[in-house]
């Protein structure tokens, strides 16, 4: 079996927020590596720096110092537009607030990243339909985002994150805004995606949710305080509901 390649390599990463009077160290010399096929939960209390880390990993923000290589590409010195392209091609985002376009159909929402990647319309529709089918929303293609439940919205967001086959799925508190029953559905989708070989990094402060990951990184005060394999993993077997329509 070949050695899995590195998706994320973070070395001596620091992020310092400066105001006139105050310097806040959000990330302090953080280093870690995430390989292809991993399912990592980044945990920590609020203010620990986990969100800052997620933004930097997601190429949404730039570090103050240190190095970050995403899927073999050095990210720290890229221009805004180059970062847009990296986010588009390599990262599938799932946000706590779903962040779907308001009053826009599910299909159009899922097609959005492909629009920016310049994929022709017919193919966009085909791919979007396929992934909406994967998350069990094939009967909701033309519903607008305000006509479906929070859990369904998050599933739309998951479909959206997958359409360009990204190297990394980055989820920020994916279950933070939805009911627990639906949260389990979301988590079992993640597990399934990970089984299919997707690399997932998930930021959360809920231990329950973090327990579904294979590896847990714990951050406090901008430093990694713990980085270990999750031995008590809560898997789909524990979850009664089967929501994935397997094809």
């Amino acid at each position: 079996m070949p050695k899995p390649k590195s998706i994320i390599v973070v070395k001596n990463l620091s992020k310092i927020y400066k105001t006139d009077v105050l310097e806040t160290v959000a990330l302090d010399n953080v280093s870690f590596e995430i390989k292809e096929g991993e399912f990592v939960a980044i945990m920590g209390p609020s203010g620990s720096g986990k969100s800052t880390l997620m933004h930097i990993i997601g190429a949404l923000d730039k570090p103050t110092s240190g190095h970050y290589v995403l899927d073999g590409k050095n990210v720290e010195n890229l221009s805004d537009d180059e970062l847009s392209e990296i986010r588009n091609k390599k990262i599938g985002f799932i946000f706590q607030a779903f962040n779907l376009l308001p009053r826009t159909t599910t299909l159009t929402n899922v097609m959005l990243p492909m629009t920016y990647a310049g994929i022709p319309k017919e193919e966009r529709v085909k791919i979007a339909t396929k992934f909406l089918n994967l998350v069990g929303l094939s009967d909701r293609l033309n519903h607008t985002s305000n006509q479906i439940s929070g859990g369904q919205q998050q599933r739309v967001a998951i479909a959206r994150s997958l359409v360009l086959n990204p190297a990394l799925i980055l989820a920020d508190e994916p279950t933070g805004n939805i009911a627990s029953a639906q949260a389990d559905e979301i988590m079992s989708i993640f597990e399934k995606l990970n089984d299919q070989g997707h690399t997932i990094v998930m930021i959360t402060h809920e231990p329950d949710i973090a327990q579904t990951a294979k590896r847990i990184i714990f951050i406090r005060d901008g430093k990694i305080v713990q980085d270990s394999i999750n031995k008590n993993r809560r898997t789909a077997a524990n979850i009664k509901k089967e929501v994935l329509k397997h094809d």
Binding site: H55, G58, L60, D61, D80, D81, S84, E85, R87, N88, K89, F93, F95, N99, L101, P102, R103, T104, L112, P113, T115, Y116, A117, P120, K121, R160
Partner: protein
């Protein structure tokens, strides 16, 4: 090309999603542009109407009226008796080189009865020269002749408004009908062609009778209300004014021109005065129009700023999902271009329609100045595009994470 159409479709879709916002933005532009076009058009058509009515008063016309020009007092209702028929006769007899013809006139309002209909109208005592000097056209019958004047005949020529008032319709042919003016019977011998109205005064609401009849039998007076003079041609207007002026001064034995007991005004003077009044009117309207354009512009500015600011989170999301700065700016620019152009075209249509409606109601000429359309349209579009583009550029330059967090 397909990319462009997709962008256009996407923009239209977004605009349709927010019907309220979109219609408010469009409304601001429509009002801005529409009012400018309508107000400028109304001003110009009023100016044109005044000019054409003054021209219609007669060609190379000089009017002598009784009373002093230099009086600083407010004109009162006092009847001025300084111009007489003898003055007119003398002017005619003098055969001044710059004067082509002379028309002594007297006018006053009287009650007129025909059958059981009656009206209060202006009675003009005139001579045969009147119609030529005042560009008066006869649509049926004839005008006053020398012999009517000499024989004090009881004949009348009616303006179309009077015909309508007395006989129910302006198309009625009243020739040979009898009307009673001041208890005396007059036979209608002619009807004039409509000249149109100017604001409060209707130049078709008149009855012409021989001056001799009017002076001796209707009003019992010896003086005139005006003497109209037609200059030989437009080149000698000033000369004619001077000749007439000095002739009358000599006749009235006045040596100091500032104490003249009559006033001479040429049509040009009238035109100049009226044009300057109308010009003031137009600039007033233009001022109002400019203000509405500014207000409209600020409205556009506001709605565009709000629209883009409100969508900062959406911009953040789009950037997070891979949209480049240019893509975002192009999208918002396309939206504002669609908005302003739609509003612009609607505004032009509504402005033109309003002007047309105004001109119909006031039966004035319908004029649209392409300049005002262009000005209003381009100002609104430029404002719309700049204020659609600028906040979009600002939002697109934000770090996606800042935009996503924007409240």
């Amino acid at each position: 090309m397909t990319e462009f159409f997709e962008l256009l479709k996407e923009s239209i879709r977004t605009l349709r999603l927010n019907k309220m916002r979109t219609s408010l933005a469009v409304l601001g532009i429509v009002i801005g542009i529409g009012s400018v076009i309508a107000l400028i058009s109304i001003g110009q058509s009023s100016q044109a109407a005044i000019t054409s009515q003054i021209t219609a008063l007669g060609s190379n016309l000089i009017t002598i009226s009784p009373g002093s020009q230099s009086s600083g007092r407010i004109r009162t209702a006092t009847v001025r008796k300084t111009l007489t028929l003898a003055d007119a006769e003398a002017l005619k007899a003098a055969d001044l080189s710059a004067v082509k013809s002379v028309s002594p006139e007297y006018s006053s309002r009287l009650q007129v009865v025909a059958g059981d209909a009656n009206t209060n109208t202006t009675i003009y005592g005139a001579t045969s020269t009147y119609s030529e000097i005042h560009n008066l056209k006869i649509s049926g019958g004839r005008f006053i002749t020398e012999s009517d004047y000499n024989s004090n005949s009881h004949i009348a020529i009616l303006g179309p408004t009077v015909v309508e008032d007395l006989f129910g319709s302006s198309s009625y042919n009243p020739i040979s009908e009898i009307i009673r003016i001041n208890g005396q019977n007059f036979t209608i011998v002619g009807v004039t062609v409509a000249k149109g109205s100017s604001g409060m005064t209707d130049s078709d609401d008149v009855i012409y009778v021989p001056l001799s009849t009017a002076m001796k039998q209707l009003f019992g007076i010896t003086y005139l209300s005006a003497i109209s003079i037609q200059a030989a041609d437009s080149e000698v207007m000033v000369q004619a004014q001077n000749q007439v002026g000095y002739f009358l001064l000599a006749r009235h034995k006045i040596t100091d021109t500032t104490k003249a007991d009559f006033t001479i005004k040429s049509q040009e003077d009238l035109l100049t005065t009226a044009s300057s009044v109308a010009g003031t009117f137009t600039s007033l309207l233009s001022g109002v129009a400019a203000i509405s354009l500014i207000v409209g512009g600020i409205g556009i500015m506001n709605i565009m700023l709000v629209t883009v600011t409100e969508r900062t989170r959406e911009i953040g999301l789009r950037k997070a999902l891979g949209a480049k700065k240019k893509t975002i700016i192009t999208q918002f620019l396309t939206e504002s271009v669609i908005l302003t152009f739609t509003g612009g075209i609607l505004g032009v249509i509504i402005g033109i329609f309003t002007s047309y409606f105004y001109s119909r109601v006031n039966s004035s000429t319908f004029t649209i100045s392409p300049y005002s359309v262009l000005l209003a349209f381009s100002v609104s579009v430029v404002i719309g595009v700049i204020f659609g583009w600028y906040p979009a550029k600002r939002a697109a330059s934000l770090q996606p994470i800042e935009a996503l967090r924007y409240e």
